[in-house]
């Protein structure tokens, strides 16, 4: 059977399975089942999670022994696609926090058999949520200057220090933390990556309220917290290479620009602009100045999408893959932020609502997106750090003497 035939067949069986197993009551609901849900909805949700987990579809590309389904990326894509078609979704990656997207893949690469056995299945089933303790108040873009230290204490490390921007720390059960194990070594040496449970006396969390009003992150304090030696991921003092790989997984998940045109159901950006700003006799946006910038934005977005396609094609083809992938983070950021600003602009005074019935839900949502979106150029390698990387690693320009 050819590869294409096999995929076709997989698609057919997947479609049938999803249709049979997805509780119709959940169709189109928010993925995380946030806010109020009825008891029956909650039960359906849990049922659906269990069915997915049993099938290994929470993390379908992982090995079967660790809770996955040992599928390829094309198959995983088919699963997503078939779910989307009938309003279904895979809630497990969200429920696992950083588990499915970042911690799990890194454990698969660097973990001992023991670590894989103990941690991966509960991630792939969505039962254990993970957070990541990387940034510190004095170590953001310059992660290597971190100060949280872990001292050898026989079977375990004793961890002291403060982490910040730990996503979902207040609701996570486990944490992957970057700690300093050799204070005498130079910055990037002497760092290790440890896994530790959050439910212990030495760990406290404090949510950080953001300008958009939500608190998805925490300050996390380690005060004689314990991490078992068996939970050292990778070699002692070699945590920098572990975290570099981890951050690659993060960047991969951030390079997709949100499609500005939107799907079939949602009004396109240009249609919304026309609704708010009006049109002239030829159907063109009445605000000619806005029209120019909207056109530039849509071109940016299309150029970005074409570049993603090109990279995929190159990867399949015989020519060497170009360095274009390095530009995607900054490009995606610009597109997302510009989209939000343009939307603010054409909505005018309806675009600056905070809450209340005087604003449509979509209007308020854009305000939150706009504020939240300011972070895209900061986290996961800031705009400036990306430029440093391109300049140095891709273009081969010499490092400035300033860089640590």
């Amino acid at each position: 059977m050819s590869n294409e035939q096999a995929l076709k067949e997989f698609e057919t069986t997947t479609r049938a399975w999803v249709k049979e197993n997805f509780p119709p009551s959940l169709a189109g609901t928010a993925m995380g089942l946030e806010g109020e849900a009825s008891e029956s909805e909650k039960a359906d949700f849990e049922l659906w999670r269990q069915r997915l987990a049993e099938k290994g579809w929470g993390a379908p590309t992982w090995p079967v022994e660790y809770g996955g389904a040992a599928l390829g990326h094309p198959e995983a894509k088919i699963i997503s696609h078939e779910m989307a078609k009938i309003g279904a979704f895979n809630p497990i990656p969200l429920m696992a926090g950083m588990g499915v997207t970042m911690v799990g893949p890194t454990i698969l690469e660097y973990g001992t058999d023991d670590q894989k056995n103990r941690h991966l299945k509960s991630i792939a089933s969505g039962e254990v949520r993970w957070c990541l303790g990387l940034s510190e108040p004095g170590a953001g873009s310059d992660l290597a200057s971190l100060a949280t230290k872990a001292v050898d204490n026989g079977d375990s490390f004793v961890v002291n220090g403060q982490k910040t921007w730990t996503s979902g720390a207040d609701i996570s059960q486990w944490c992957g933390a970057l700690v300093r194990t050799d204070p005498a070594a130079k910055k990037r040496n002497g760092i290790s990556f440890v896994l530790l449970p959050m439910a212990q006396e030495g760990v406290t969390t404090k949510p950080i309220k953001l300008i958009s009003g939500v608190s998805p992150f925490c300050d996390t304090f380690f005060d004689d917290a314990r991490a078992e030696k068996a939970d050292l991921l990778g070699d002692l003092n070699k945590g920098w290479s572990v975290v570099k790989r981890l951050l690659q997984h993060e960047r991969q998940s951030q390079t997709q620009a949100r499609s500005p045109g939107g799907g079939a159901k949602k009004a396109t950006l240009q249609d919304k602009a026309k609704t708010y700003a009006g049109t002239d006799a030829n159907g063109a946006l009445a605000d000619a100045d806005l029209r120019v910038r909207l056109a530039n934005h849509l071109m940016d977005a299309q150029a970005h999408g074409l570049t993603v396609n090109r990279i995929t094609a190159e990867a399949k083809g015989k020519v060497e893959v170009s360095a274009a992938a390095s530009i995607l983070k900054n490009s995606a950021t610009k597109i997302a932020q510009t989209k939000n600003e343009l939307t603010m602009e054409f909505m005018g005074t309806q675009g600056i609502g905070w809450e209340g019935d005087d604003f449509a839900a979509e209007e308020l949502e854009n305000v939150r997106d706009w504020l939240w979106g300011k972070a895209i150029s900061i986290y996961g390698g800031s705009h400036e750090v990306q430029n440093n990387i391109i300049s140095k690693n891709i273009l081969g320009l010499p490092e400035t003497t300033q860089q640590g």
Partner: protein, 377 residues
């Protein structure tokens, strides 16, 4: 700053030290968090009245000091720096301008002293849709006996819950888009048929939506002549734009100062981040924008005091100061990094205020178009 008179310098120093001491941005945060009624502290307002700020553009015979718009700009720059919330701009600049430009002698005598002593709080009720378009005014004013009956809605009315008098733009003839047929009315906040509700905006200031249901006003409530309100309205708007630009400049200048301070103190990779050339050059560029924006802002205020080139210069000012505030508020967040994203830090307050001010009285796109039209292309 332009070459200020001694009086203007004194007022600037007073405004700077009063806002920094009595009304710093922390005070604004307190107002927001405690959800103070009408979104400003009564004592802030009293202090402003006491300092004479409410009379800056009002002639002496009506109790003001008649110091002019450049002086008002000096004060607004400082309130803009600290995000000081009050009806000062809406009432003592916009409201007062409408009366000064369109009011009869009787109206001036009846209203202006009240603006100066703070007992009257005026505000302009103009907008009916999300985007600024004065000539599209549609709120219906039907002749009725010796007066008019007003019906329709107004949105985004600044200090709309605190105001006791509205300057309402209404249509007495023609239809949306016609330059003729707009008239201005003074409407009491307690008038029968008028209801208002506070709207919650991202900048946490006081705005209201109004609903007018056959609100009766007498003939002497009209500012200027029937159907001929648009020129008064536009002249009032230009004063509003020039004043708002001064406030926006202050907001942006404070954001610049905060950023510069951070560049000098925050360390990364073993040195203060301001020593990274890419950030140093970015700061230099922002500084250039700021100086150019300041020249535009001052020129617009001066133009009003001198009564020349007002339209061109206010559009220039709103557009260029707006551009600087837009860029600066984004860089305020970007350069501060993660800390800039937290509600605890002030950057978000400035960013949110920046976008709100951008929508008021015409955004950059509106004024770029107007500037081009005025310049004959």
């Amino acid at each position: 700053m332009a070459a200020l008179t001694e009086e203007q310098s004194m007022i600037r120093d007073q405004a700077k030290s009063w806002t920094a001491d009595k009304s710093p941005v922390d005070k604004f945060r307190e107002m927001r968090d405690k959800e103070i009624a009408n979104n400003y502290f009564p004592e802030t307002w009293s202090a402003m009245v006491e300092m004479g700020w409410t009379g800056i553009i009002i002639p002496e015979q009506y109790g003001g000091s008649d110091l002019g718009f450049l002086t008002f700009g000096v004060v607004l720059e400082e309130t803009g720096r600290q995000l000081t919330a009050s009806p000062l701009f809406a009432s003592a600049l916009v409201g007062a301008s409408a009366i000064l430009l369109g009011g009869s002698e009787a109206q001036k005598q009846a209203i202006l002293p009240g603006i100066v002593d703070g007992s009257k709080i005026l505000t302009l009720a103009l907008e009916e849709g999300p985007r600024h378009a004065p000539e599209n005014t549609s709120l219906n004013a039907q002749a009725s006996g010796a007066g008019f009956k007003l019906s329709g809605t107004k949105t985004f009315v600044a200090e709309g819950m605190a105001a006791n008098t509205f300057v309402v733009a209404a249509r007495t003839s023609g239809s949306a888009g016609d330059r003729e047929g707009i008239s201005l009315f003074l409407v009491d906040a307690g008038a029968k048929g008028l209801s208002r509700n506070a709207i919650k905006t991202v900048d946490s200031r006081g705005y209201a939506n109004l609903d007018l249901d056959a609100v009766e006003v007498s003939a002497d409530a009209m500012l200027g002549q029937v159907d001929a309100g648009l020129p008064i309205l536009e002249a009032t708007l230009d004063r509003a734009r020039a004043g708002l630009s001064a406030e926006m400049l202050g907001t942006a200048a404070q954001a610049f100062d905060m950023t510069l301070e951070y560049l000098k103190t925050r360390e990364q990779f073993g040195q203060v981040i301001g020593s990274f050339q890419a950030l140093g050059h970015r700061a230099a560029g922002l500084f250039g924008q700021m100086e150019l924006a300041r020249s535009c802002s001052e020129a617009a205020l001066q133009a009003i005091d001198d009564d020349r080139d007002i339209e061109l210069l206010t559009s220039l000012s709103k557009c260029r100061v707006g551009e600087f505030l837009f860029d600066m508020s984004n860089q305020l967040i970007q350069i501060h990094g993660g800390i800039g994203m937290t509600d605890e830090f002030d950057a978000g307050l400035y960013l949110k205020r920046a976008r709100t001010l951008e929508t008021a009285f015409g955004n950059r796109s509106f004024h770029r178009d107007r500037y081009a039209t005025l310049a004959g292309f």
